[in-house]
Each structure stands twice: as C-alpha cells, then as structure tokens.
C-alpha cells in the first residue's frame, strides 16, 4: 500500500510497517523538546507527585527562551527551576539563553529525517522542515512522554500543498503561509499532516522551509512536512549531523491524500494579515492607507538569519521613518553572530533598529517591549491575536521581513518590491 511521508514517519515510530489514517496508534518518541514556560516549572512537580523519572534523559532537549531576560522575580524563579532541573534530571542537551527553541533545536543538530518528536510549544511543527514528524503538546502530555517515552496519535491524513514556479524577488515563505491562512482559514490544516512540495519549495533555503513548517501551526495542521533533499542534507551536515537518510523519507507516488492544492508561486504578491488573525490576509496593496508606529522583526517565524538578511536587503541605505520604532530580536545567538560578522546586523542598526535579546520577547507577550494601546505594528511574527503582544487595543499586522522593513522606511504598510526594484 502506498504511504505518504507522514504515514511512513508515524509507522516507524509505532513499530508497524504501514499505518492507516484515522487509526489510533502509540508511538515511541525519539526526542522531546521543552522550554522554560511549559517545561520544568510545570512537569517537575508532576514528576515528583508520581515519584517518576525521565524515561531517557538523552532524548530530552531543554531550551530557555520565554522568560529571558529574567527581569522580575517570577521570571527569575521560572528560569532557576529550569536550570536546576536540567542538573537534577541529567539533561545534557540544555541550551540556556542561546535563542528560540525552534531555531536552536535544529541549529544544534538535534533533528534529522525519519525522527518522531514532540515539543512543548505550538510551533513545534517547525521540525517538519527537516523530515521529522514533530508536533506541539501541552505540559501534562509532556509529562506523559517523560514518564513513558510514548504518546498516542490518530494517524493523520495528508494535505498536499504544491507551489509551482518560483517566488518573485521580495517574496518569501511567510507570504505563502499568510496566503494559505487567508485562503483556507486557521483550521485549513484540520489537525492533519500538511506536506509542502513543488519547484518553489525545492528552491527555498532551509530556514525559509522552517518558516513554512512553523506556520503550519497557524494553518491548523498537526505537522508541516517537507520531504528531505540535498538542501536538507547539506544544511544538516554543516551543523554536524551524520547518517542523514533522505531516500527513505519520501512519500510514495499515488498515496491517498485528504486534499491536494496547487498554487503558482510566481504570481503571489506580498501578503499582509490584518488584526486580529493570520486568516485576515490579503495582498499588501489592500493596506496602503495604514500608517504604523512600530515595525517588529522577531520570533522563530521571522527573525532567523535569512529573515534578517531579507530585512537588510530592503533597509540598506535607508532609515526607519520618523515616529516608527524598529525593533529587531534575532532568533538565535548564532544567527545574530553571523549577521553581525557579515554586516547584515549593521545595516539594521544603521537603519535605527533597537536590538532585543535572542528570545521570544513580545511575540508571546513576554519581556520589556510589550505593545501599548497606541501601537500600530507590522510584525514578522506568526500570530496577531488580540492582546497577544501586550495591550488588547494594540493593532498588529503581520507581514514578511521584506514587507515589515519596507513599511518601517515609509511609515505605512508598503510593498517591498517597489524598494527592491
């Protein structure tokens, strides 16, 4: 029987040769990632209540990113619990203050094609860019994984999203995902596996593919998969991953799909989502009369090295408009260091950017840069739910790093293609 990539990944984890969509299976977990918010501060008391230990500390990765920098007693307490617990539980894979978990996890070589992984965060589908079946779970479910090494799963159907052609200059993976959220809504993925394919996907860099998989959360899929290829292999080799098997982890031609959609990337215009939902997306031209007072480049979705490069391509030689605050929170320390060494960061700072720590910051309502009620922001982040980044009166628009950078320069929501021309 022909199997999709998702079925093959789930079947291996379930110890079966094939699986059927809709069936309930129990999967062995290869890797469990936690951060400081949903991690030790929540699971440690429950582990103690059960008198249980972590099933395999080498399969756990702990990353601090939500409550850093820890500026108040509550945040300091949460971070201290994470640090103490890493020692007590024998977690060797502890990455402390090095950036946002979804970016640090692959950067440290923890992911490769064929794995089955869970993360204590909704943007965990990011791992799908590497051919890992990865999805988000809550803290109590993480406790279940930590105690048993297992998790139940309803075998997903697959929704295939094909992008033909090639993205035009000034367009990015973020535009593709905002388009999909606008077209199908935030439950378009139906909590099934979404697989991205086609020539425009093959042409994307690894970090752009991560943006697609990451925003599968907003699209409503459980996992967002991209079959591994030579782009995957060379990126993983560069971060020290060995035994990379791209051949096994491909869907079979003719495998049954829940749905299949095809779009031409070449004709996609930049997309912007209006408050308060990524599903309220439209072509950038529909927002030309919106004046902004903040441009936010941050988060796992929108401040990786490639995202910073996109913003710099637009901002080079320009400054943010008077009255516009430009904030940049690089997603990881490694990406920030590379951006600094190659001059990308300098371009952003010369444009007037304020540099924020390598952490989740305002994207998830944390840190010192929360939006007040007067804020009208365009942001590279994934979600613009009411109140998410601070005041419930704040207006948050979403766009690509190109579009956010262009809007910073003009002070209104702007089409980056005009500045890149």
């Amino acid at each position: 029987m022909q199997q999709t990539l998702a079925q093959k990944l789930v079947a291996r984890a379930a110890g079966q040769s094939t699986v059927k969509p809709g069936d309930i299976v129990t999967c062995r977990v290869d890797l469990a990632m936690m951060h400081d918010s949903g991690g030790p501060r929540r699971v440690k008391p429950m582990l103690e209540k059960l008198g249980a230990k972590v099933w395999d500390p080498d399969k756990v990765v702990l990353i601090t990113d939500h409550y850093l920098p820890a500026n108040d007693d509550d945040s300091r307490r949460i971070i201290r619990i994470a640090r103490d617990w890493a020692g007590e539980a024998g977690i060797k894979n502890f990455h402390d203050g090095e950036g946002i978990c979804h970016v640090v996890l692959p950067e440290k070589g923890h992911l490769r094609p064929g794995m089955f992984a869970v993360g204590g965060d909704s943007h965990s589908p990011t791992g799908g860019a590497f051919g890992t079946y990865m999805f988000g779970i809550g803290a109590t479910e993480m406790l279940g994984v930590l105690v048993t090494g297992e998790i139940w799963l309803r075998v997903p159907h697959t929704i295939l999203i094909e992008w033909t052609g090639r993205l035009a200059k000034g367009l990015s993976a973020k535009d593709m995902m905002l388009f999909l959220c606008g077209r199908f809504g935030m439950d378009g993925g139906q909590y099934q596996a979404v697989e991205y394919a086609g020539s425009a996907i093959a042409a994307l860099s690894m970090q752009e593919r991560m943006t697609l998989s990451n925003m599968t959360a907003e699209f409503g899929g459980q996992a967002g998969l991209i079959a591994p290829d030579e782009v995957t292999r060379s990126w993983l080799e560069a971060v020290g991953v060995r035994d990379i098997d791209c051949d096994t982890w491909q869907g079979d031609a003719g495998a049954a799909l829940l749905a299949s959609h095809s779009f031409d990337a070449s004709s996609l215009p930049p997309q912007v989502a209006a408050p308060h939902s990524p599903a309220k997306s439209d072509a950038v031209g529909a927002f030309a009369d919106v004046a902004i007072n903040m441009a936010y480049i941050g988060a796992c979705t929108g401040a990786k090295l490639d995202d910073l490069r996109m913003a710099a391509a637009v901002l080079r030689g320009h400054r943010a408009a008077k009255g516009v605050r430009l904030l940049v929170a690089p997603a990881s320390a490694k990406d920030q260091n590379i951006a600094a060494a190659e001059g990308t960061l300098g371009v952003l700072l010369d444009a007037g950017a304020e540099l924020l720590p390598n952490a989740c910051n305002a994207c998830a309502g944390y840190g010192n840069y929360l939006l007040d009620e007067s804020a009208v922001t365009i942001s590279t982040t994934a979600r613009n739910f009411k109140g998410r980044m601070g005041s419930t009166a704040a207006q948050i628009y979403l766009g690509s790093p190109y579009t956010v950078a262009a809007s910073a320069i003009t002070g209104r929501i702007s089409d980056p293609r005009e500045l890149l021309a």
């Binding site: 209540k49 779970i137 809550g138 939902s277 109140g387």
Partner: protein, 166 residues
C-alpha cells in the same frame, strides 16, 4: 452535569483563554483574566457546572494547557463546539475537561440551561426544549477523564506496574 451556557464565536484562541502576559503566574491568577478580552464578566460570574459553548476551531493557537486549565479552575464542566483546535483538544482531555463535538452548537443561546451526558454524547437544552446529538468521545479519552486526566491516569498505570508480579 447541568449548567448555564456561556456562548462565544468561531476561532476562540488560547490568548483569550490564558493571556500571555499572565502566563508567568499560577492558574488562580491566569483564570481571573480568562476570556476578559471578549467578556469581562466571565471570570467573575461563571458558576461551577456552567458550560462554555464555542464556534468552530475552538482553542486555536498556543500549546499552553492553562487555556483549558483556566476554564476548569473556574468550574466549567464541559465545552461544546462544532470543532476544536487539535492541541487544545488533547490538552483539555489530558487535564480531565470533557469537550463535546456538536454540529448544532450554534443553536445554543446565552444563559440556556443545558444537561450534558458526556459519556453518551448527548445534550438536553432545557430552555429551548431541544435535544442535541454529539460525536461520541473516543473510549481512551473518556477513560482519562474518569481518572481525572492524564496525571491520574499515569498514577494508576505506575501503581499497576509496581504491583504487578515481576
């Protein structure tokens, strides 16, 4: 179970249920702000046994299980909606909060008195004198609700393993 309906719309998100700016606190504090952006009266006036009724894709957004935990802390007995975000669905059952999938949830009006039989997947709307059918809750999830959630379920499993002869 029986209680008064609090009715909300489609795509109710986890930032509404558990706002990020309160996430550093315990569930008591988070629950005080549950749904305040939509209905400021909710946290103060909801009574134990009341039922939250939502639209499609209820609970979309974050993995934070406090979204379900805040409802439970306030005494909400069940949620009724035509569909749920997958992560919220798993989290709610893991905490022991039953979610009913009901295609006709839209017929329920604010303050209707509902009698919910989660095991049978059946709702009686006493105010409107109507009966609503729900999808049956999968047996492995209903077993978890009976154990008080995944924590209670694990407690039983570990005890069973410990007591079993080697």
């Amino acid at each position: 179970m029986s209680g008064k309906a609090w009715v909300f719309g489609d795509n109710l998100d986890t930032d509404m249920l558990a706002p990020g700016i309160y996430m550093k606190f315990g569930i008591e504090e988070i629950a005080k702000h549950c749904l305040e952006a939509l209905e400021p009266r909710f946290a103060g006036e909801v009574k134990p046994g009341d039922i939250v009724v939502g639209g499609k894709n209820f609970g979309m957004g974050s993995s934070r299980e406090q979204a379900a935990g805040a409802l439970m802390h306030l005494g909400v007995a069940a949620v009724i909606a035509p569909s749920y975000a997958g992560l919220f669905y798993r989290n709610a059952f893991n905490l022991g909060l039953p979610l009913l999938v009901c295609a006709d949830a839209g017929s329920i009006r604010p303050d209707d008195v509902l009698v919910v039989d989660a095991e049978r997947g059946h709702i009686t709307n006493q105010t409107q004198h109507t009966q609503l059918a729900c999808e049956a809750i999968p047996p492995h999830l209903m077993a978890m609700v009976r154990d008080g959630g995944l924590l209670g379920h694990l407690e039983k499993r570990l005890k069973r393993e410990k007591d079993a002869p080697a």
